[in-house]
Symmetry: C2
Subunit: 254 residues, 2 copies
DNA sequence: CGAACAGTTGAGACATGTCAATTAAAGTGG
DNA sequence: CCACTTTAATTGACATGTCTCAACTGTTCG
């Protein structure tokens, strides 16, 4: 029986939805983040002139289900995810909705709002979230452009492009099972990049969201999970995923 | 018989692959572009401090089939397409390739190279092309960040994000015919944005490229074209497309 | 406790992929 | 300039993968 039982204990580094109990209260007084924390969250590896920048950025907390950004809303800044998982989606003109990303800790929100001065996608919190707001006033300083923050922000935006291209390439596979396997690989890598276990994590999104993201139906996602489970590559229990062979998952279908 | 005959004359504003005869020779001496031309190409609608910026940017010409950017190559700047059509693709790890964009006049190339210092996708010219190089020296000036160019570049990068999201949403449709119809809509709009006819143009890419881009086989693309032709919505002759009803094309499948 | 939702699984319909044949166009070399 | 090859594109027949519809279970939430 490969299926992972929900009642067994999760290890300390297993990712789980944050603030599920009352973690929010524990840091009630920490409502600001500094520039170094932003750099750390973004995993910025370049050089900045003044690491002693004393700028403080206001945090914004969201309950699961709340909107972080609304489509059409005027651009008022970028957000860095400090904690939590979100879902970015666009309406497809004719009413159809399409999930385009699942932002997590360290990801940037709102970068699509710069060019038209308004956000062009909707971002909703899947779990309780903690965001750091980088207001447009600090981004676009007209008097002096000598601004480390601006440089870092644009570096992060370039990274967004890469991530989107990767995500786009994700949907390029003839078979849905391969797409799902690849999706799990990417999720695993992202959890690893955040410092959590790459072999055991809880997906914050529904099967329907995954299917929408991968352009298959939720039933197909479920069947793909079951197929991978039968092969002994993963274990599935609701939204909890355990990966037994990253190699098999990565090379699945090729 | 709706099928458009190849031997009939194309109107002046119908887009056709540039430099097909000897247009290159005509502007042999124009090897530089100024800042205003870059702004115009990018269709930048914001404010810049000094429109009298005398910066000149070197152009780079490519023959059809030549690479504009190679994956892994160190980042040395961004490029703005002045003329021509290109194809951006990524290798998918296991050898599979995926077309992620079809850049055209006014589009930005190389924005995925900033965050890791090397280009992460391959860009190849589908037609003869003329690019404007914006070197990284001019983009990242360490001594004084009061740089309009940098601001415009990042604005354009934000637009890239939006375009990619739209392209990603493109693949979200249950049926392949809908995807192909939507693809033609987008192409039409892009030709219109460049000042060409939205109702009559020549696709620069093969059916295989389109299929790869939309994640269907080339036969399915061909069948979708034929289906739309039989409905009287479009006419197809090789790579030349005529659109008889933009409305029908846009709302197809919904 | 009942309602709503998330998820799994099955059966059948249908769309798309695969394989193959054909045509037209474009490039190649004598 | 003409055979020759290669490539792009269309179309058909068939196999197969995915969607649709449906039933059922377990969980969550009021």
């Amino acid at each position: 029986m490969l299926n992972f039982q929900a009642d067994s204990n999760l290890s300390a580094d297993t990712w789980r939805p944050p603030f599920s109990q009352s973690a929010l209260k524990l840091e009630k007084d920490e409502r600001w983040s500094g520039f170094p924390e932003v750099l750390d969250l973004l995993r910025f590896d370049g050089q900045v002139r003044q690491t002693h920048d004393a700028s403080l950025f206001r945090r914004r907390r969201l309950r699961a289900g709340q909107s972080a950004l609304r489509m059409g809303q005027p651009f008022d800044g970028l957000y860095v995810v400090r904690l939590g998982s979100l879902k970015t989606w666009m309406t497809h003109g004719d009413g159809g909705e399409h999930v385009v990303a699942f932002p997590m800790k360290g990801d940037l929100l709102g970068s699509d709002g710069i060019c038209q001065g308004k956000y062009l996608s909707e971002v909703v919190a899947l779990t309780d979230c903690d965001l750091i707001r980088i207001p447009s006033e600090k981004l676009f300083v007209p008097d002096c452009g000598c601004n480390d923050l601006e440089r870092v922000a644009y570096w992060a935006i370039s990274r967004e492009i890469v991530q989107e291209q990767s995500a786009y390439a994700l949907t390029y596979s003839p078979k849905s099972e391969v797409r799902v396997a690849h999706f799990l690989c990417i999720q695993s890598e992202r959890f690893a990049a955040m410092g959590y276990s790459p072999s055991r994590f809880i997906l914050p999104m529904t099967r329907r969201d995954i299917g929408n993201y991968l352009n298959v139906t939720l039933e197909t996602v479920s069947r793909a999970f079951s197929a991978l489970r039968r092969l002994g590559i993963i274990a599935v229990d609701r939204r909890e995923i355990r990966i037994f062979s990253h190699e098999a998952l990565r090379s699945y279908g090729s």
